[in-house]
Amino acid sequence: MVSIPTATWHRASKAESAEYLRLVAVPDGAKKSQLKKNSVLCIGEEQPKNWFTELQVLKGHFDIVRFLVQIDDSRYASAGDDGLVLVWNIETGEKLLEMRGHSQQITAMATLTRVSGDTPHTSLVTASSDRSLSLWDPDTGNRVQTISDLQSSVKRTSEDVFCVPQCLLVLERRSVWLSGGAELCVWNIDFQLQCQRQNHSDIGITALVELPKNCIAAAMDKEIVIYRLTASADRSLSLAEVRCLSDHQDNIRTLIPVNDGLFASGSHVGELILWDSSDWNIMAYEHILWEESQADTQSEIRLGSPKPCEMSIQHLTTNGTLILAAVGSGLYVYSILTKTVVAYRRAAHDSNILHTMLLSDSELMSCSEDGSVRMWEMQDLPLPAEVASPGFFGMWSFGRASKQTEPPVRKITEVPNIRTLELTGDLIGHSGAVQMFLSFGEQGLVTCSTDHLMILWKNGERQSHLRSVALFNKLEANEGLPLVG
């Protein structure tokens, strides 16, 4: 079983993170107060709905932890800028394995499951800035396969950074996997290169999505390129570029599959486009705008960033019916059925949201550069959420040609059925940006952060119960307590 979303993470710029880290580590009064002022939300300490009442700080990494991948019901792997891949037990918080091999930061990680006989065996694939790809066995900690010194077949004048694979996509049904970067490579399960394709963009492939009919969508710069993977008679594979979709006005930050018929992409300027998976037509186009206030509190963070990023779609998640978009520091819930934003919170966090998750149709979770994880609930409220400072966003019906620079704006109040996102709880623990989190359902939640730590959040009640069970089991095993210690 492969968790596809994790395979499509693009790398955040390290410079940004480092900058943020510095900010968090040394918050002088001014910055702090500004952050505070900007913070619209403060839930306080009374959080009855927050059941994460126990935490465990996991140490092991020496640098920013960026990726978390679930291996099975009880294990997950973490990877980050220190090049380490660590395997953890979710129940106990124990570090099970430490896998060393990469000399530089890890840029992507995915699980690769192959079924030999009856038992599926899950391996880990990692891509690193050291221009290598590795296959790890999370049971033994061995590096099973490695391909290093990836060479671009096309000579480039600039540095070889484009040879770094930036995203991974595993096609389970076909037992192949793809790495995207400066070039798109197809590998079989035994780490043999099947075919590769040079791409023509300067940026390289930042995200990959599997589409029906052996197609693959790859996000490159402002375009989405559709490739088709075909197997010839001798079982050799070949890649062919089928279509190039260039409807985004800016860099595509995220690309996700929504359901069998749709996939979605989000761009740096807040464009959310829903695509038909089969014919690659635009099903919906949503432009989420920010208030054009130039008193941008975030600009100081993003030094040197040419564009305001507060409308950048950082992350998209979906459960098939809803799409949750992290736009700057705001959250927007988009319904696929009605093709409208059904709930939103413009300033959900104090800073950019890095990762989101839809827990159910009404509960969601987000983590941000401000170091916190917040839990939200969509509630039907008679009043719109933010009357005082309405956000702006535009809506278009689908159509490919609409590339206006000044899209018409409608007020939210005009939108029927708008719901509100209510903060139900927050998790505070990290002292740096929370890069992402991984939920194990009732077993708990792992968050990883730029502060080199991971935190395992658990339900205190449940843990207490588990400990009691263990206690009585041990009692049984020991046949009572020894009276004298």
Partner: protein
């Protein structure tokens, strides 16, 4: 019960004592320092039985003489009864000697009453040492008066040596074990609030703690008696437990002065005769617990008890002193002739006051039975200790 056996040698008289069961005592001796001949053994008491570890008379004499070695240097107040305690690994024996002055044939002599035990019984004996010594000391006080009057001390000494032998023999078989299984106490699940009334238990434990852990449990049913005995022993230290005795199922033990907790069985008529003098001679006041009718009675507090005890002892000694002839009074009948001291015969009083400490113990204990038997026992031990400790803290 004693004597009637001719001495084996003309020099040393010997009394063989028939005892039920194994007696850890090898022998008791009475010796004195003859100003001409040196140490002389006067009398030997030895348990009669088929015990393998019996000493020959020669050995006994050797050891008894040894107890007086060096006593030529003795400097003690007149009337003092000093204790010497030997562990002679070379001989494998323990000797407890009480050294005192006595008048023999008009001469003042240093005398020694000794008991000899195998060294292997050291652990058994040590907890009982204080009892034995105290009882011997008092009988020696009486014996010295007897000697002063020119009577034979041996009969007086016999009146305590034989009971002590019996006591040691009974402790060999019925001593309370150091580790108590909760199943054998009334804190067992099934018993609480059922066979043992909660209020009664409360009173029993708190009075037991108030009388320094010294209690006698009387009843007709030996199991029931022993359950209470063990329950009370939970609140004692291990060495105090070793100084406690269960009741004997078939035939009742006699009351023994100085034990911490002892179980005693009523006779077939359902009555129990309280040996007033012996209860009074116990170092601590006693709680009297009758498990048949669930009554708890208590002696006066420790300081009062000690005072009464001393008064009584003095009057007993005075009576002896006044006795005209050897036949005038048998050692056990002295009390009635004494006029100067009339003890309050109603020494056992009902326990009136209630404490909260034991109550909360019982509350906590009874209300939360644990499912697991073993845990239950742990809990009981745990809590009993906890409370015993609290009781001491305050």
């Amino acid at each position: 019960m004693s004597s009637g056996y001719p001495p084996q040698s003309p020099a040393v008289a010997k009394t063989e004592v028939p005892l039920d069961g194994e007696c850890p005592l090898l022998a008791a001796t009475f010796a004195y320092w003859d100003n001409i001949l040196g140490p002389r053994v006067r009398h030997i008491w030895a348990p009669r039985g088929d015990q393998s570890l019996l000493l020959s008379d020669g050995e006994i004499t050797f050891l008894a003489n040894h107890t007086l070695n060096g006593e030529i240097l003795r400097s003690a107040e007149c009337g003092a009864v000093d204790v010497k305690f030997f562990v002679l690994a070379e001989k494998g024996v323990i000797i407890v000697s009480l050294i005192f002055d006595g008048e023999l044939k008009g001469d003042k002599n240093t005398c020694a009453l000794s008991i000899i035990l195998p060294q292997t019984e050291l652990g058994f004996y040590l907890p009982l040492h204080a009892i034995c010594v105290e009882r011997f000391q008092h009988v020696i006080r009486k014996g010295r008066i007897w000697m002063q009057k020119g009577y034979n001390i041996i009969s007086v000494l016999s009146s305590e040596i034989l009971p002590v032998m019996e006591l040691l023999a009974s402790m060999k078989t019925h001593r309370v074990q150091e580790d108590i299984d909760i199943k054998d106490t009334v804190l067992n699940d099934d018993d609480i609030g059922d066979s043992c009334h909660e209020d009664f238990l409360h009173k029993a434990i708190s009075s037991h703690l108030q009388t320094c852990g010294c209690s006698m449990v009387v009843g007709s049913n030996p199991d029931k008696v022993n359950k209470i005995v063990r329950t009370l022993c939970l609140f004692l230290t291990p060495s105090e437990r070793k100084c406690s005795r269960l009741c004997k199922a078939d035939s009742s033990f006699k009351y023994e002065t100085g034990l911490f907790v002892q179980g005693l069985l009523k006779d077939s008529t359902g009555s129990f005769v309280l040996p007033f003098r012996q209860v009074l001679y116990s170092p601590y006041p006693t709680t009297h617990i009758d498990v048949d009718i669930n009554t708890v009675k208590q002696m006066p507090p420790c300081h009062e008890h000690t005072y009464n005890q001393r008064c009584y002892m003095r009057s007993e000694l005075s009576a002896l002193w006044r006795a005209v002839s050897e036949d005038d009074i048998a050692p056990d009948t002295i009390i009635h002739t004494d006029e100067s001291f009339t003890p309050d015969l109603n020494i056992f009083q009902d326990v009136m006051h209630k404490d909260t400490l034991v109550k909360s113990f019982i509350d906590e204990f009874i209300r939360f039975p644990l499912d697991n038997q073993q845990l239950h026992s742990i809990k009981a031990n745990f809590m009993a200790y906890r409370y015993a400790r609290c009781g001491r803290c305050y």
